[in-house]
């Protein structure tokens, strides 16, 4: 289906600014960054739409969590020319619009010890970036500790904690809401977190 929505109005500068925001989000885990404005299709939040326009191109594969409106793949295909992956394992990027029904973290590509960068990057949309169970983060880019409270299902943080122990393997993630984005790279660990407990 041919899309009816434009992409970035100023492709060069808009994508550079968004890329900078995504970079800052990963280098300062847990801090919110703001992306530029874009008209998103139904089913994508504003910041997630700006991020996919910036990150995807002819050579990247993306896995869409089932259930997104048909306008989304049409829009992505027109503006980025990206390829769609059949399985999360084969994807460079995974677009998740509902974290509650998303597959477990182990189903995504974690890279290999020789090529840890060949992993899947998660693009997760949330209805809000606060109000969940608070967790304390530690790792590169965080001076001391930082607390966030993403509204994620109870079994997510144990999976994340287990993944960080497999460093350098793992996935990096961005969390989107409105025009805000927050990054969680694989280097970010949870402190004082007991596995098996859930919210």
């Amino acid at each position: 289906m041919l899309t009816q929505l434009p992409g970035f109005l100023d492709p060069v500068h808009d994508s550079q600014q968004t890329f900078r925001a995504l970079l800052d989000a990963l280098s300062q885990p847990g801090l919110r960054q703001t992306t530029v404005a874009v008209t998103p299709p139904d089913g994508l939040t504003l910041s997630c739409a700006a991020a996919v326009l910036t990150l995807l191109d002819l050579e990247t594969t993306v896995w869409l969590q089932p259930g997104l409106p048909a306008a989304v793949p049409g829009w992505l295909l027109f503006h980025t020319g990206c390829q769609f992956a059949e399985t999360p394992q084969a994807a460079d990027f995974a677009l998740i619009w509902q974290i509650a029904t998303a597959p477990p973290l182990t189903t995504f590509q974690w890279g290999s010890p020789e090529y840890p960068e060949a992993s899947t990057s998660l693009l997760v949309q949330l209805p809000t970036l606060q109000g969940g169970r608070p967790v304390t983060l530690q790792g590169p880019g965080i001076l001391g500790e930082r607390e966030i409270a993403l509204p994620v299902p109870g079994d997510f943080w144990p999976q994340w904690q287990a993944m960080t122990k497999r460093y350098p393997l793992g996935v990096d993630s961005w969390w989107f809401n409105g025009d805000q984005v927050l990054g969680l790279p694989r280097t970010t660990r949870l402190v004082d977190f007991e596995e098996g407990t859930s919210a």
Binding site: Q4, L5, P6, G7, L9, P11, F78, H79
Partner: protein
Amino acid sequence: MATLAKAPLALLEDCLQTLDAVPSYQFLRPPETGLTMVRGRLEGTGDPFNLGEMTLTRCVVQIVQPDQSAIAGFGYVAGRSHRHAELAALCDALLQHVDWADGVHAQVLAPLQAAAQTQQATAAAQTEATRVNFFTLKRGES
């Protein structure tokens, strides 16, 4: 599309001037210039090979009709003229528009095709004037 893409820009502008009150349009993909690989086949039937890269400008415009249905027009032109790509895309969109298709055919496509034919005929005549015929004379040895 080929007629629009190969037309001289000045002539295309002139032809579009003769159309009155072109509907408003917006860019779905603003004009952008890039490279594309041109591929060829030996004698038209052999294996494809990469001939070389050429500069290309493309553009997609959208006309939203009163009933909210949208028409997308595509323009791909050789070279770096953003304006040419925009006008080619606009004409492509108008050709799909029920109210405009006939007008564009008569006032834009027909003059452009005529101009292209004239130019081709002129070039052929100029080439013809310099034709040299080679003859092989039979030598009287046998």
